[in-house]
Each structure stands twice: as structure tokens, then as C-alpha cells.
């Protein structure tokens, strides 16, 4: 999925100066883009705009060359996975297992194939043995891994990870780095992070800096 931002401007309130101001960027459909920027520089805001949770005040967002204005957040999210800075808000179901399956159950698309894929994801993200646990009762790192597994269950083509290492220990961080490097061979990943270890370990990345509402290539 190719994401193109053109002249993107956004402010939360009319009276306040805009958080993003005439921002231009292209995020390729393959490879890693690392987005840095001070606290409050608008990284999370940018992710919300790409997913359609927030609407831009001016400018446009194109997904694979198509204007995204008419695409609902749900339609965009089927192709772009967005891991929240706070994954608590992304977990709903009473058990880990159901957390992965409920969107498919609701849309009546839970096939045997899907079930097998979900099992695999549980194993891949180190959640085996926790299938019947309550998601919000998991540790911070486990919640983040579960949220990530939930995103991947839909077969997304692009991932936006907002501070993905904030709750991870060294071992889980290594696993995540491995996963990102691997996933980015065929898909695009936008990582928003201040984590130096993560930044150093990501392969073939573009580094971007958000400052004063604009993006700079570092």
C-alpha cells in the first residue's frame, strides 16, 4: 500500500495553531520508515489522519493512488494496521482467543482456514497458553503483542506502529525487531518511536523527523 500525503493540514481547534501544517510525504509500499519527533509533535495525530479517525482540515491523503476521503476508517483499517500507543483501547473481548476471532464472527467469515491462521498467530506472538485469559489483565507487553496479532489477522498490507516498544522488555523487543524487518520485505511499515535500540536495529530504513508541523528527511 502506497500512502501519499499532500499538503496535509490539521488542527484540533480553530483557535490553536495547526499540529500539522502543509505536510507532504510519500510512504512506500515496501520497507521501513522511522518517524521521530518530540513529544507532542503530532506523530499520533498523523497516524489518526491516515486511518481516517481524524479528518484533515486541508490537503489530501491517497492510498494506492486513490483519494481516501470517501473510505471509512473500517475500510482503511482492513488494509492498514494501526497499533495504538496505548493498546488498552484496542482490546475488547473477554478472552485472548475471542479477541482475535470476534471481528470475523461478527461478519460471519470465521472459516476453518481463518481459525488455523489465528492459532498460528497466537503461537507466533508468544501467547500460547493464554488463550482463555482476559486481554486487559495481561501485562503491557503481552497486550501489545495481542493487539499486533489482531491487526495481522486481517492480512494488512501496511503497518503503523505507534511507540511499539514502550512496554517491551529486551527479549520481546528483539522479537519485534525481527518481525518488523521480516514484514517490511513485502509490506510497508511506519514506525513512530524514540527508541534508539529499535532505530539502530531496523534494516534499510528511511528516517523522518516531524517538527513544526512538517516532515523532514534526516
Amino acid at each position: 500500500m502506497l500512502i501519499e500525503l499532500e499538503n496535509l493540514t490539521f488542527s484540533y481547534q480553530k483557535r490553536l495553531p495547526p499540529v500539522l501544517c502543509g505536510l507532504n510525504a510519500v510512504f512506500e509500499s515496501r520497507g521501513i520508515a522511522l518517524l521521530t519527533g518530540a513529544n507532542g509533535s503530532g506523530k499520533t495525530t498523523l497516524a489518526n489522519l491516515i486511518l481516517g479517525i481524524l479528518k484533515p482540515c486541508a490537503g489530501s491523503i491517497k492510498l494506492d493512488g486513490k483519494n481516501a476521503v470517501k473510505m471509512s476508517p473500517g475500510a482503511r483499517a482492513n488494509r492498514i494496521g494501526y497499533l495504538f500507543q496505548n493498546p488498552d483501547l484496542q482490546l475488547f473481548a473477554p478472552t485472548v482467543e475471542e479477541e482475535l476471532s470476534f471481528p470475523f464472527e461478527l461478519s460471519k467469515t470465521l472459516t476453518e482456514e481463518k481459525k488455523a491462521l489465528l492459532k498460528e498467530l497466537i503461537k507466533k506472538f508468544g501467547l500460547s497458553g493464554m488463550e482463555t485469559r482476559f486481554p486487559l489483565g495481561l501485562s503491557g507487553g503481552e497486550k501489545q503483542r495481542l493487539a499486533l496479532a489482531a491487526l495481522l489477522s486481517k492480512g494488512v498490507e501496511y503497518l503503523i506502529l505507534d511507540e511499539p516498544t514502550s512496554a517491551l522488555d529486551a527479549g520481546s523487543k528483539e522479537d519485534l525487531i525481527h518481525f518488523i524487518n521480516d514484514f517490511s520485505k513485502n509490506n510497508g511499515v511506519l514506525v513512530m518511536s524514540h527508541d534508539e535500540d529499535l532505530a539502530d536495529a531496523l534494516e534499510d530504513k528511511r528516517v523522518l523527523r516531524l517538527e513544526g508541523g512538517r516532515l523532514y528527511e534526516a
Partner: protein, 248 residues
């Protein structure tokens, strides 16, 4: 100058009492007028409030329309053949409902003008135990937090690729289960954290508390309170003598 929280509390109590006790449209109109006056005194921006409450207002209007169409009696105003569509009693019912809800909403708006610990201070001065006053203030303070969190959760569920508008009623109900369970559990977690944070900061470590701002009633507060009390008394007595006060 802003009114003292105690004057505002009094206005809230009196307005809601009158809204509940008044029975006919005429009386409710007078109370609604008084509520608008109170709103102006408390510097409520009506336009902002209407914007914030637009969903709630449309719900009230919807209920009023249903009521006016379903309650029958009195003179028939609109009819198709033998089917009565609109009757005077139906319209009266709907009007009463709208007026009563508007007054109660206004009281809620006045309550929401409180900043920080204002209402706690006001309640304390009225000799409410500190723990109770503090709890009610916290409850008020957290309402918008929960509203925002709920809105965020709806967005987050849309991001799971679920188009809420396209679901059948039954699946929608199931979906609300997914929204409400974590919201309640999250609230419980939050309250536990809050309790721990309070203890860590020495809540109730000393018997006597001091206050940063001492509240003082100004002459304006006295005028407002006395006027409000006199108005309420006259209003209730008048209703009582007319036999309109049904509860007594």
C-alpha cells in the same frame, strides 16, 4: 464576577425541584424562563451547549414527536378519516416533556460550569463530609473522560474493520457488549489506581483540612439566592392554592 458554587448549587436544586413538581405547560414555561435566566447568570454559552448536546437534544425532540403522535385525547387537531393523528393532549404532553427536560438540562449545564475543586469547596462549606464531597466531585470530573474513552473505543472497533452501520440489530447488540465490558472494567481499574494515587499523596492523613481558596458569598450571591428562594416559594404556594401541586 462568577457566582459562588453554593449559589449555583441552590439554583440547581431549585430548578430541578420545580421542573419535577410543575404539572402544566403554563407553569413549566415560567420555570423554563427562570432556568434561562439562571443560565445567563451563570454565563452559560447557549450556542456551545447546544452544539455539545446536539445528539441528546435530537433524542428529546424525537421522543416528543412520538409522544405527540401516540398520546390521544382532548381536541382532535389533525386526522385522516377516522384515524386521529394529532390531539391537543398529545401536544400538551410533548410540550411538557420538552420543557421539563430543558430545565433539567440547564441545571446540568450549571453544574458543569464548576472548575476544579469549586463544587467540593461549596459542598464542604455546606457541611457535607469531605469524603462525600470529594467523591461527587471526582465523579463529575470523570464523566467527560469516560465519554471520550467510549468515543475512542467506537473508533478503535471501526479500525478492526467492522462497519457498525452495516450490522444487523442482533450483531449490533453483541458489539455493544464488546464496547461496554472493557469500559466498565477499565473504569474499575482506573478507580483502583486513583485510590492508590490518593493514598500515596496522603489523602486523609490529617483530620483538619485547609483550603487554598476560601469561599466568600458576595452581595450578588445573596441577591441571587434570596430571589431564587422567594421565586420558588411564591411559585409553589401559587400552585398549591390552585390545586396544581399534585404531590401535596
Amino acid at each position: 464576577m462568577k457566582l459562588d458554587p453554593r449559589s449555583r448549587l441552590l439554583l440547581i436544586v431549585l430548578l430541578t425541584t420545580l421542573a419535577v413538581l410543575s404539572e402544566d405547560v403554563g407553569n413549566l414555561m415560567i420555570v423554563a424562563g427562570a432556568a434561562i435566566g439562571a443560565g445567563i447568570l451563570c454565563r452559560i454559552s447557549f450556542l456551545d451547549a447546544a452544539k455539545r448536546l446536539k445528539h441528546f437534544l435530537s433524542l428529546i425532540l424525537f421522543i416528543a414527536v412520538v409522544q405527540s403522535l401516540t398520546v390521544k385525547g382532548g381536541d382532535i387537531l389533525v386526522h385522516i378519516g377516522k384515524v386521529q393523528l394529532l390531539t391537543s393532549r398529545g401536544i400538551g404532553f410533548a410540550l411538557e416533556f420538552v420543557l421539563r427536560m430543558s430545565v433539567i438540562l440547564m441545571a446540568g449545564l450549571i453544574a458543569s460550569t464548576a472548575e476544579g475543586s469549586e463544587m467540593t469547596d461549596g459542598l464542604l462549606k455546606l457541611r457535607m463530609p469531605y469524603e462525600l464531597a470529594f467523591m461527587s466531585a471526582i465523579a463529575l470530573r470523570y464523566l467527560p473522560v469516560f465519554r471520550d474513552e467510549f468515543a475512542n473505543r467506537i473508533k478503535a472497533i471501526a479500525l478492526r474493520g467492522i462497519d457498525i452501520k452495516k450490522l444487523s440489530l442482533w450483531t449490533k447488540l453483541k458489539l455493544y457488549g464488546y464496547l461496554i465490558t472493557p469500559a466498565i472494567l477499565g473504569a474499575m481499574q482506573k478507580s483502583e489506581e486513583l485510590a492508590r494515587a490518593l493514598n500515596a499523596r496522603g489523602f486523609r492523613a490529617f483530620k483538619k483540612r485547609t483550603m487554598l481558596r476560601e469561599l466568600k458569598l458576595s452581595y450578588k450571591d445573596w441577591i441571587v439566592m434570596i430571589t431564587a428562594l422567594v421565586f420558588t416559594a411564591v411559585f409553589l404556594i401559587r400552585m398549591y392554592t390552585c390545586g396544581a401541586l399534585l404531590v401535596l
